[in-house]
């Protein structure tokens, strides 16, 4: 669906989510929305620029990649103003941004419920096994290699 989205709709949606997250940031982490506003604007801007690049470039990479790389780039020490960007975005708690996402996820729950009821028990069991596998085995690999390089 990524390619079908209208830029105007996306920008408006990001602004609305930004406002919700600012209020959550205030309720949960006691940062006033005015103080966190510049940081939130930067985050929204990075996201929109990431989308813009995706739409322009002919390579079919997910937008997430561009967004991650831009956010990473503008906060590395060599980028002009990176200290200010880091400081301002630091006022937005990343959990405050995650809560609205899971609220949207929750509200879409009923959509797939009928499809779920049709699934056999085996596929349900295997789903949980698959998610356990990817999480636990990569954790084990990380732990072993961290110990190997002597980080802890």
């Amino acid at each position: 669906m990524e390619n079908n989205l209208k830029m105007k709709d996306m920008i408006l949606t990001y602004i609305i989510i930004g406002i919700i997250a600012l209020l959550g940031n205030w309720a949960g982490y006691h940062v006033s929305p005015i103080k966190a506003l510049p940081g939130m604007l930067i985050i929204v801007l990075i996201t929109i620029v990431g989308w813009g690049i995706k739409k322009i470039l002919p390579i079919n990479l997910p937008a997430v990649i561009y967004i991650s790389l831009i956010a990473l780039l503008v906060t590395t020490k060599i980028f002009p103003g990176s200290e200010w960007i880091t400081k301002e975005t630091g006022n937005v708690n990343f959990l405050a941004l995650a809560t609205p996402i899971l609220a949207y996820a929750g509200l879409s729950f009923g959509k797939d419920l009928n499809q779920f009821k049709k699934l056999g028990w085996r596929i349900v069991v295997i789903s949980f096994v698959v998610y356990t596998g990817t999480f636990v085995i990569s954790t084990i690999m990380a732990e072993l290699s961290f110990r190997f390089i002597g980080k802890f």
Binding site: M1, N4, L5, D9, T13, I17, L23, A27, G28, I42, I43, V44, T47, G50, P62, I65, S68, L69, I70, A71, V74, T76, F79, T89, V92, F94, L95, L97, A98, P100, I101, L102, A103, Y104, A105, G106, L107, S108, F109, K111, L113, L119, G120, I123, V124, V125, I126, S127, V130, Y131, T132, T134, F135, V136, I137, S138, T139, M141, A142, S145
Partner: protein
Amino acid sequence: MSAKPSMFSWKVHLFVLILVCVSELIGVHELGLGIGTITLFPMLYALIIGSIMSIPKLKILKKKEMQISANILGISFMLFIAKLGTMMGPQLMELFKSGIPLLLQEAGHILGTIILGLPIALLIGMKRETIGATFSIDREPNLAIISEKYRSDSPEGRGALGVYVCGTLFGALYLSLLTSVIAKLDIFHPLSLAMGAGVGSGSMMAAVTGTLVTIYPEQAGTIAVFSGGANLITTLLGTYICVFISLPLTEFLYNKLNPILGRKHRNEIKNIKT
């Protein structure tokens, strides 16, 4: 999906706003259960209360509004990814120093679904659905790969779709609870768990990272940086590795292991003998 997906519903946004504020005000709580302590935090309340509100029988939301909510979800997590990116920039050297763990954890993410999933799927008697179900965590890009190779109404396609549906409904909640339980065992360093969080799905990654940060608040910054780093690599390499390594490997292992572990085959062999 030729029509432009709609992203507009004031009702959905208003519900999210209320869910967020209520959830943040409830705050963090610990729940002691037989199997361990479970950490409850705002994200989970928003997810659980939202899910309950979305149950069709309650008639609070229309099907169309649920679809809009899913459409918004599909782009909303990018704000979270952008925020994680801004935390990664200043720590870039730290990430480079952990290059080996970052690569090896990625192997764990890619192979983890197959190593654990494939044998168990065969043991409980699944047939070719196994291939679609266990070659990856079956998010949207993976579904596209499967339907391209096998068609979406093939057994392989049904296996992938089944895991997709379960993951969409319960993945974030399940992984959050699993993270609570595993973290409390105290076997793994928080940073290893943080890397484990980079499963390549926005909401699941947010849920696991959120759980870890709530359990280890003093390491919040580094946890976010490492889960962000792991997730970026999973997203970057995921699709290619899926096509060129995971899927052929899963098929190969299925053909090798099905005669040994598969239920039907064992019965057939028995029948031939008797």
